[in-house]
């Protein structure tokens, strides 16, 4: 019986020595080459951090596309980065070519503006089947300044609310307040002049002094060379929006 205990003791001793040796002696380099090593998070994290960037941000686009940028940065689309519609710009910026995507389809606009039951109710949505008879949206709406000449109507009741700026504060942006006026408010004290419901809208603005029958294209006559050109600050507005503010005398 003793010899078995002795043998067992010997084996236990050898085991302890092997385990201790494995801890003390460093693994030979050849094992590392074979892949028997653990991950080094510090090195790997740096590798991840140095991957190339594809979406460069609108702040880069302005360097060449200042005209589009200045329109866009004051428009209702100011929260949308250039690359959200135009695709990643890194290759374009680095080499100048190929150009970024310029997509003009209705489907692109519909991604955001098609009426869906799941969308927040206060987000501007249209029935794509009714709107525009299948024509490209950008024929009337400039994507860089979607509301050109089309002041938005107040989307809520006005009863009991007399001071628009008590909620729509131009100087206190904060993520979840009602929308901030996207234009200067100086000289435009009466918000409802443009944004009010139909009966309040455009009461003091110049009215159309003639019947509109048979005249659907205002700009045919009212242009720089024609009768009563629109004032300078109306640049970029299109026929479709004239009647948003200017009513006929019969109205």
């Amino acid at each position: 019986m003793t010899h078995l205990i002795r043998l067992g003791g010997l084996l236990a001793g050898v085991l302890v020595v092997v385990v201790v040796l494995l801890q003390v002696v460093p693994a030979p380099a050849v094992l590392e080459e074979l892949g028997f090593h653990t991950s080094n998070p510090e090195v790997n994290a740096e590798e991840w951090a140095s991957l190339p960037v594809q979406y460069v941000g609108s702040a880069v686009c302005v360097n060449c596309h200042e005209d589009k940028y200045t329109m866009w940065e004051r428009s209702d689309h100011q929260t949308i980065n250039c690359e959200t519609c135009h695709g990643p710009g890194a290759a374009h910026v680095e080499t100048g070519a190929p150009p970024v995507v310029v997509e003009s389809s209705r489907e692109l606009c519909a991604l955001c503006h098609a009426a869906l039951v799941s969308r927040p109710g206060n987000f501007p949505q249209v029935d794509m089947e009714e709107m525009g008879n299948g024509a490209e949206c950008i024929k009337c709406h400039d994507p860089h300044e979607p509301r050109a000449g089309m002041p938005k109507q107040v989307p809520h009741e006005l009863e009991g609310r007399s001071n628009c700026q008590s909620c729509h504060r131009p100087h206190e942006p904060w993520e979840r307040t009602p929308p901030i006026p996207p234009h200067p408010v100086e000289g435009r004290e009466n918000c409802l002049e443009c944004h009010g419901p139909d009966e309040l809208r455009g009461m003091t603005l110049p009215r159309v002094p003639h019947s509109l029958e048979g005249r659907s294209e205002c700009l045919l006559c009212h242009n720089a060379e024609g009768i009563k050109p629109p004032p300078e600050d109306h640049a970029g507005r299109k026929t479709i929006s004239c009647l948003n503010c200017h009513r006929t005398e019969l109205d």
Binding site: Y55, N63, H77, G87
Partner: protein
């Protein structure tokens, strides 16, 4: 100048979200010099957080597209680092959840809405999903080879050089945030059939840029910032608003916080 001052000064970083909302004109950025190099500082001082606002999400899917293009994620809808789910609740209170093409193509196409036409919808909304970068990540614990880990600034990464593709972490993640790169689609590190996941665009946030999905979101439904900076947008929201996390009962301690959260979202 401390680490924070360095980053703040160099990249106007402290209010990273607000900076990107109204992009300041980038002085000195010219052709060929487009993105700054990754900043090397003590990232232990940062702890990133993410806010998704279900009240704002319009389901356009541009975040999914941006993520795929920025991170070279396979274009097929089975592989996603981020995706958008649509919740529809009918008058009886029954839930319908779907995510056609993972939200990549939006939700506006007719074929995506046919099945809800006959439904009496009581309520419906979109929920953006992505890796929660849990402070107590089950995926890291189960990895048999130590190939996935949490960085100093609290992001869970996968070392593609060590991942053996056993998929144990896919099973362990309660949010379905992980997937395997298909055969033939090599990652930036030259391997396929390894695990990939959202890392909040680790290469962007270390350059002072926002994650691609946050930058691409047209309605500010995705917000990103440093939870240790009391003035960051995520700090302000998590401090001042009622925010929710997904499956809080699991104790994973997620760092994606939801605003406008509905009962029943999981």
């Amino acid at each position: 100048m401390g680490a924070k001052g360095l980053l703040g000064g160099a990249l106007a970083y402290s209010g990273v979200a607000s900076v990107m909302r109204k992009p300041a004109r980038a002085e000195g950025v010219t052709r060929g010099l487009l993105a700054p190099e990754p900043v090397k500082i003590d990232w232990k001082k940062y702890h990133w957080g993410f806010v998704c606002d279900d009240d704002k999400c319009i389901g356009c899917g541009r975040c999914v597209v941006a993520c795929k293009k920025e991170n070279d994620v396979p274009w097929e809808p089975e592989y996603n680092r981020t995706w958008v789910e649509r919740y529809v609740i009918d008058e009886e209170g029954e839930f319908f959840v779907d995510s056609p093409n993972a939200g990549r193509d939006g939700f506006a196409a007719d074929y995506m809405n046919v099945k809800y036409e006959a439904l009496d919808v009581r309520k419906s909304f979109f929920v953006p999903k992505l890796c929660n970068q849990c402070d107590n990540p089950p995926c890291v614990k189960v990895c048999p080879v130590g190939a996935t880990y949490m960085t100093d600034d609290g992001v869970v990464l996968v070392d593609h050089g060590h991942c053996i593709g056993c998929r144990y972490c896919i099973q362990a993640c309660p949010y379905g945030a992980r997937f395997m790169l298909p055969r033939g689609h090599k990652s930036h590190f030259g391997v396929d059939r390894v695990i990939d996941k959202c890392n909040w665009c680790y290469h962007r946030i270390h350059r002072g840029l926002l994650p691609a999905c946050v930058q691409a979101c047209p309605v500010e439904a995705r917000l990103f910032g440093d939870l240790r900076d009391p003035e960051s947008v995520v700090s302000r929201i998590t401090r001042e608003k009622r925010v929710y996390t997904l499956k809080p009962e699991l104790g994973t301690d997620p760092k994606v916080f939801y605003l406008g959260f509905e009962k029943g979202v999981h």
